[in-house]
């Protein structure tokens, strides 16, 4: 079981990573010109009122002192109060995390549902019309920006066909699922384009590999060769690619949630940036970073399970 030992010591290695992330998120938002007190109070606020707000949120302290408070609070499980919402940031993230998680999960599931069959068809019928179509679509999928794609999906499925809700996030489970289809699809279309290409390449290499030749020479049918020998070997690199892309995707929810008005972390982040809500931005950024790190950690575990040769 020594191959799984990294599960114990990897979290320790993450400490410096998280420290670095906290510094970067803290500094970056403060580099943007603008002042949260001014945004909050409007253009006609008196200098005293602005100074009061700044003092209230500790914004008048030197940067280093502010950072020390930020880290101290983190250890106590707090991330300060939102300037705009006047709520504790941890609570705020707690209420907004569910739609984002559900959206990412929906995107990943849909992208696998699209990419595995497409890659399979494409690889097993290499050079045919089906293969060329899949390759053309996946190239197109990478090219379309998600804000445009999202708008097009809304026009087609929500406005013209009226199959699905335009935007928002429902109350019941069924409603939520309905609301998540279009934003999930927006994510899945670009993600599956990348996954399909990787899987297709892995499968084609696998079908020509010595492993496949040896299996055929033992009299195994093409189906057995493909499902039992080619697919498991092709999945290993794709899992890692998926993990890297989930990292991107978590950041991408900022755009997708804004387009579809999903009340998740991405939308919270976008508002926070516009209103210079420092506490919210650094809190959500930290949450995003932790999620990305966690996803990669999970991907490592899956890789070790899938490929017995890998030791981490």
């Amino acid at each position: 079981m020594h191959r799984y030992r990294f599960v114990l010591y990897r979290p320790i290695q993450l400490i410096p990573v998280l420290f670095g992330i906290s510094v970067i998120t803290f500094v970056l938002i403060r580099l943007i010109p603008g002042d949260p007190a001014r945004v909050l109070l409007g253009t006609r606020a008196t200098p005293t009122a602005i100074a009061n707000i700044r003092a209230q949120y500790g914004l008048d302290e030197p940067l280093l002192t502010q950072y020390v408070y930020f880290v101290k609070n983190l250890f106590a499980g707090e991330m300060g109060r939102s300037i705009l919402y006047k709520v504790d940031v941890v609570q705020l993230i707690g209420t907004r995390i569910e739609p984002t998680l559900a959206l990412v999960a929906m995107g990943v599931v849909l992208s696998l549902l699209i990419s595995v069959p497409f890659a399979t068809i494409s690889a097993r019928r290499q050079g045919t019309l089906a293969d060329h179509t899949v390759r053309m679509l996946s190239t197109a999928g990478i090219g379309f920006p998600s804000f445009w794609l999202g708008a097009m999906l809304i026009i087609l499925f929500a406005v013209k066909l009226d199959w699905l809700p335009v935007s928002g996030y429902g109350g019941t489970f069924g409603e939520k699922l309905q609301h998540l289809v279009l934003p999930g699809l927006t994510i899945a279309l670009s993600l599956s384009a990348i996954l399909t290409r990787s899987l297709r390449a892995g499968m084609i290499a696998g079908l020509k590999s010595d492993i496949a030749t040896a299996a055929r020479a033992r009299g195994m049918s093409e189906g057995v060769v493909f499902w039992r020998h080619v697919l498991p070997n092709a999945l290993v690199p794709t899992v890692n690619l998926l993990a890297v892309n989930i990292g991107w995707l978590i950041g991408g929810t900022v755009v997708v949630e804004s387009v579809f008005a999903v009340t998740g972390l991405g939308q919270l982040m976008a508002r926070g940036i516009f209103t210079r809500d420092y506490m919210v931005v650094q809190g959500v950024a930290l949450a995003f970073a932790c999620a990305t790190v966690l996803v990669n950690f999970l991907a490592d575990i899956i890789t070790v399970v899938l490929d017995p040769r890998i030791e981490l």
Binding site: A217, R218, V224, N233, R309
Partner: protein, 549 residues
């Protein structure tokens, strides 16, 4: 008696648009029950293609069987897919790439047992463990649940044989089954194949480039060249009285035929050794900064001297540390402890000066002739680059010097304008040697530089080295796993095992009277072209030794 497998006038053609090339022409050969047929030829002769054609697994869709037929038990074979696994099994050259790395050996064996013998999964488990026992796994139950990467190359080949046997074949096609293995392991695998023939009445087609391998194992030999069978016959008759000139050339090129030179070691004439290696230790670390750190000791306190003008062969099996030794001597690998002195200068104490001296006086020739040459540069450019960076040849004289170097290694001057891709392996290796000679080295280190070449080409390159060493007074350090070649070329041989030197002495003495048991086993395992010499010199293979690393 009717042959079990009868190939009649088989032809295979490559077709791509208008282009047509006949890769196998009119092949007729047969295999009797319980017989071992050796199929011998150099790379590109079509021997693997022939095997693939029989079971309908041609490596490209542009290849087509364009003539002839195959009879199995007197019946014409129409559906090649139906005979795969049973009754025709196949094993391959490289067990590492042919075994599925993400599937246990047991599952890969069960696959065949379930499909071809209709066993249930528990039955397949029992039968699979019995098969692993038959092919020589010391702990078959543990091997059954293990993944291929946990085994050594020899055990992986045994696993592949067990997987083929699981399908219950009557005929086993073994395509270069021992080429990737060390000599002692090769002897064990060949012995296993012969045992299987005796125990199960298996008929075997053994494909190899090494006449020595077939001489000691096969009943009949078929020699292939350029897609044709040039000669077939009972092995003794064929080896004793070859008819075809190519067969004669193959036999003459076999390294086991020539014998060690009895030259007196030259260092009597010199005062100081060129290289002094003292208690050299090289360790490699693995593992991260929080994970368990491991060190692998590649060289354990190695000491020896090399004198100017010597030709020294360093031999050993894979993992013995012979390449690490060579790299450490050239300063290419960090030294953990000990000393390397080049002309009395210490590589550890005065690294800058010694490295400079080494770069000017020592050159290396690599194993892979294609990949050690830059594919985008012509041969002339490759050699000229060395001359330019060394800076000792005036620019206007460089083309003349390139021509001179090409003459030295026996390449036509016109080839200077060609790129590696359009040259043969032997030509590329000659170009690699010319590049090494460009710096006017006093010492050449050749790391397995003929391992990738065909026997006839090997013989030519060895002759070239011999001539260069004699004409230019070069010191030659020749690293090889092939003892037979070292015996032909080198006056002194250093035998390495597990990072240590186990024997060091004049070739004539070491090969005639090896002092150590390991050297004796290594020499005994050299495939000999003499059909009456038993495989592995009659020494019992130590199966345990190569078990799981």
């Amino acid at each position: 008696m009717m042959p079990l497998l009868d190939i009649q006038n088989l032809s295979v053609t490559f077709r791509d648009g208008e282009e047509r090339r006949e890769l196998l022409r009119d092949i007729s050969v047969h295999l009797g029950k319980g017989e071992i047929l050796g199929l011998v030829g150099e790379s590109g002769s079509g021997k693997s293609l022939l095997c693939r054609a029989v079971i309908g697994l041609l490596p490209s869709s542009k290849l087509h069987v364009t003539g002839g037929r195959v009879l199995l038990n007197g019946q014409e074979l129409t559906d090649t897919a139906a005979v795969r696994g049973r009754p025709i099994g196949m094993i391959f050259q490289n067990p590492t790439s042919h075994l599925d790395p993400v599937m246990t050996i047991g599952k890969q064996i069960s696959e065949g047992l379930i499909r071809h013998r209709g066993l249930s999964r528990p039955e397949a488990g029992r039968e699979g463990i019995a098969l692993l026992d038959q092919v020589g796994f010391p702990d078959p139950a543990a091997a059954f649940v293990s993944y291929p990467h946990t085994f050594s190359g020899g055990m992986r080949q045994r696993a592949m044989i067990a997987i083929a046997l699981a399908c219950d074949p009557e005929i086993l096609i073994a395509d270069e089954p021992t080429t990737a293995l060390d000599v002692t392991i090769q002897a064990q695998i060949l012995q296993l194949l012969m045992d299987l023939r005796d125990r199960r009445g298996l008929s075997i087609i053994l494909v190899t480039h090494d006449l020595g391998v077939v001489a000691q194992t096969c009943d009949r030999i078929a020699v292939m060249r350029n897609g044709q069978i040039v000669e077939v016959g009972e092995k003794r008759a064929l080896l004793a009285h070859p008819h075809h000139p190519y067969t004669r050339q193959l036999i003459a090129s076999h390294p086991s035929l020539s014998h060690a030179s009895d030259e007196v070691p030259v260092h009597a004439h010199h005062k100081a050794p060129l290289f002094q290696v003292q208690d050299l230790r090289v360790e490699f670390a693995s593992g991260g900064w929080l994970g368990g750190r491991k060190t692998f000791r590649a060289l354990k306190d190695v000491s020896f001297d090399i004198w100017p003008g010597e030709t020294v062969g360093i031999v050993g099996e894979s993992g013995s540390g012979k390449s690490t030794l060579a790299r450490a001597m050239l300063g290419l690998v960090p030294i953990t402890a000990g000393e390397v002195l080049f002309e009395g200068q210490s590589l550890t104490k005065a690294p800058t000066a010694t490295l400079k001296a080494l770069r000017n006086h020592a050159a290396m020739v690599f194993q892979d002739p294609f990949n050690s040459l830059n594919p985008r540069m012509t041969i002339g450019q490759t050699i000229a680059e060395v001359l330019q960076s060394q800076g000792e040849t005036p620019v206007e004289q460089i083309p003349a010097r390139v021509d001179e170097l090409l003459d030295m290694v026996g390449l036509e001057r016109a080839l200077a304008g060609r790129r590696p891709r359009s040259l043969s392996g032997g030509q590329c290796q000659r170009a690699g040697i010319a590049r090494a000679l460009a710096v006017n080295p006093r010492v050449i280190l050749a790391d397995e530089c003929v391992a990738a070449l065909d026997v006839t080409i090997q013989a030519q390159i060895v002759a070239l080295f011999r001539k260069l060493a004699a004409d230019h007074g070069l010191t030659l350090i020749f690293i090889a796993h092939d003892l037979a070649i070292v015996r032909n070329l080198c006056e002194r041989v250093v035998v390495m095992h597990h990072g240590q030197i186990v024997e060091d002495g004049p070739s004539a003495r070491v090969f005639a009277q090896p002092a150590r048991a390991y050297t004796r086993a290594l020499i005994a395992a050299i495939p000999d072209i003499d059909p009456d010499r038993p495989i592995n010199g009659g020494i019992n293979p130590e199966t345990q030794q190569e078990y799981a690393t």
